[in-house]
Symmetry: C2
Subunit: 440 residues, 2 copies
């Protein structure tokens, strides 16, 4: 124990004197902003990244993440605080290693932990004694305790919470959010031991204004999934209700705005063509997956998932119904999609429902084009590729049907209404009923 | 039309000069506070009520509703503005009639509209020409348009929106809420016609600070059910997650408190033994019911309902598990329930999960007692009756197991912990694990 205390005190002293090197494994939309935040607080950071192009961009001061400005990045690089590398052996130089790798679902919608596994094996291989290791990737409760820590022990030969410390601190990056950034969003952290918690709190204090400690990594893992499960469940609820409301001739958006006037106990969620992005459509299924190992079926998540999975198909039916009004089939008909990003005014099309709807209508023989000022080209799940067309009168008038999938503020919605033959409005753009507009 | 305009102008003039009589049908937890609010604004009100005892109490200045103080009631009565009556023929004296009757579920959990039907038939029979009729009872969308208005037309022989006007304005009473009362809670209103909306807005302005008009009664009906569906779904979600979290050795309350530190996009709901009260366990099933008539299955509400229905049974199993730790069965064992109200610090046990859990353990042969400082006696669904026992050391020590079902602030939780043999803590009273405490 003498040794461990001394290692801990050594690390704390290094942290307090800013005499540490932080390694951030994965330089994506989580890892890069985090690395920049540490660097801007005068902490030397090495960004580990397998993609040579990203390494080149970072070291050249060029940002590929919308939420990281080139100014910030260049300032971090310029002071020599941040550098990126493909050489994972340099993990041996780091006093703290933060893992920010993707945790996707595989094609059967099961958790795919291969990036976490790779990262843990690599960190375990190169890490030095006395290092603090923290996972930020969203994953099911027990991952840090039952997988990360044992793997690091096994590969490194060191003993957890004596020779090194392990924690989980979920990322809360919300792409495009101007108000809440890494720095001013409260950060949850759960460590395996009180020592690890002390180290983690002092370290993260350089990058984050407020930390919220919890009693264990699994509580932190659960908290993160809970946040996104809450969103999945509530969006799925209003999406299902919107389909009913349409049949009942009720504008659900109007009912939601009315419900929102209740001064307590209600939070508004609005319908849409489905759920996109890197978090909400994925995270809850990590929890559903681990639940089965505890002989437990999470019926709410399962039901919400079913609704979300079916939304693109249902939206295809809605388009079909709009075409029916002008006596047309999907086959051979020109459909223009406006917006393929998964939310307004961002350039991210991961898991975007628009892409799934496009696959659905292409499968029925429709002739598809799309326009998105933020996304110049797309490739759908089924492998179809498109380039964005210009937004103008003639493009809109040339389509048999225009589908508003993402409500970008750059679109001129009056122009669309004036020129489109039929509109499928999946975002409640047009609040007043109109004969050429079909709503979700 | 001349006639209709003149009727409308007559009614508006009466409203503006406070020269109207408002009838409120049903003097329960919605109708009585509403009647008092109008009376305190110098509007003459007749409270119609079938229960002779309630009529006697009101006219005697005695309140039987916790949220109506005797001071307020006596002031309303004293000025001669409010009187109650069993004589429904006096509806003929009223210029506006507001229907505030219960909309329960029957024993097969289907909407039971008999009180609304009775009220509409009675109002139709006695109402005069030129009256404004508004329903406040929570019910499925289409009720006002497809049932209330036609029934009033048929029984009265008058023509809707010419001879009388119809609207829906959902009650938003939250029993025990000190901050938000009828007066300062925004009130949604949807009328059948613009004339009806004008009348309704001007009338309700006497009792409510802010009104939120919507385009139709069905939107207002949907908005109200949406509010409570949101709550049912989110409480059911955390209840299901709590059962999993227990198996995973995670305190879900801690995870919820951590998730709550996210500064956007999250609203905290906490687990409990089930959902009680007059709204949340009932309203969503009105929507599920009407959905079937539109060939639509509301899977989210259905799933949430299943979780809630099973909670008392699952809590019985939790009690059984606590007893198992001291080598006891449910049969012949003394179980003390603390709190039978459906939420803390109120005297309302409608749909309270505590009563259902009591029935479950009685069925297994347990010897039950309960203590609730707000509720002196209870009768369960199965017909068992109990009187509340005193809250003291000896009562707690005498039980084999104490179950904390409602977290009343009057209970001394340290005293409970010091004296109870086993505690089943369904409200996360004891945050630190304790060998004698089993959590939800």
């Amino acid at each position: 124990m003498e040794d461990a205390i001394s290692l801990k005190e050594q690390l704390l002293q290094k942290i307090h004197s800013r005499n540490i090197t932080v390694g951030v494994v994965g330089q994506g939309y989580v890892g890069l902003p985090l690395a920049v935040n540490f660097a801007l607080a005068d902490i030397p950071v090495i960004g580990f990244e397998k993609d040579a192009k990203k390494v080149e961009w970072i070291n050249g001061g060029r940002s590929y993440i919308a939420d990281v400005s080139e100014n910030e990045l260049q300032s971090a690089i310029g002071e020599g605080r941040l550098c990126a590398t493909e050489d994972f052996a340099r993990i041996g130089e780091c006093d703290a290693v933060i893992i920010c790798v993707p945790t996707p679902l595989d094609e059967f919608r099961k958790p795919d932990l291969k990036y976490v596994e790779d990262a843990c094996t690599t960190v375990g291989r190169y890490m030095k004694k006395g290092v603090f290791v923290c996972l930020e990737s969203t994953t099911f409760p027990t991952t840090t305790e039952d997988y990360v820590a044992p793997t690091l022990e096994k590969v490194s030969g060191y003993k957890k919470e004596e020779d090194f410390w392990v924690a989980f601190s979920p990322e809360r990056v919300d792409p495009g959010n101007q108000k809440f950034t890494i720095r001013n969003t409260v950060k949850i952290i759960g460590a395996l031991s009180p020592d690890g918690m002390e180290i983690g709190m002092d370290l993260y204090a350089y990058a984050v204004e407020t930390l919220h400690p919890v009693s264990s990594p699994r509580v932190a893992e659960m908290a993160k999934i809970l946040e996104n499960t809450y969103r999945l469940v509530n969006i799925s609820l209003v999406n299902e209700l919107a389909l009913l409301a349409n049949r009942m001739d009720i504008n659900l958006w109007e009912a939601i705005d009315a419900a929102k006037t209740k001064p307590y106990g209600f939070q508004a969620f609005y319908p849409g063509p489905g759920i996109g992005g890197h978090c909400i459509p994925l995270d809850p299924f990590y929890l559903e997956y681990i639940a089965t190992r505890f002989n437990f079926d999470l019926t709410m998540i399962h039901t919400a998932g079913q609704i979300n999975t079916l939304m693109p198909h249902r939206m295809m039916i809605r388009i079909n119904f709009a075409l029916n009004r002008i006596g047309k089939a999907l086959k051979g008909t020109r459909i223009l999609f406006l917006g393929v990003a998964y939310k307004p005014d961002i350039s991210d099309d991961r898991e975007s429902p628009a892409l799934k709807i496009i696959d659905e209508v292409v499968r029925k023989g429709a002739i598809v084009s799309y326009c998105d000022p933020y996304i110049p080209f797309i490739k759908t799940e089924a492998g179809h590729t498109f380039d964005s067309v210009p937004f103008d009168e003639s493009t809109i008038a040339a389509a048999d049907c225009v589908v508003i999938t993402t409500r970008h503020s750059r679109f001129n919605y009056e122009l669309i209404l004036a020129n489109a033959r039929q509109i499928v409005d999946l975002q409640n753009v047009y609040k007043v009923p109109h004969e050429r507009v079909v709503k979700l």
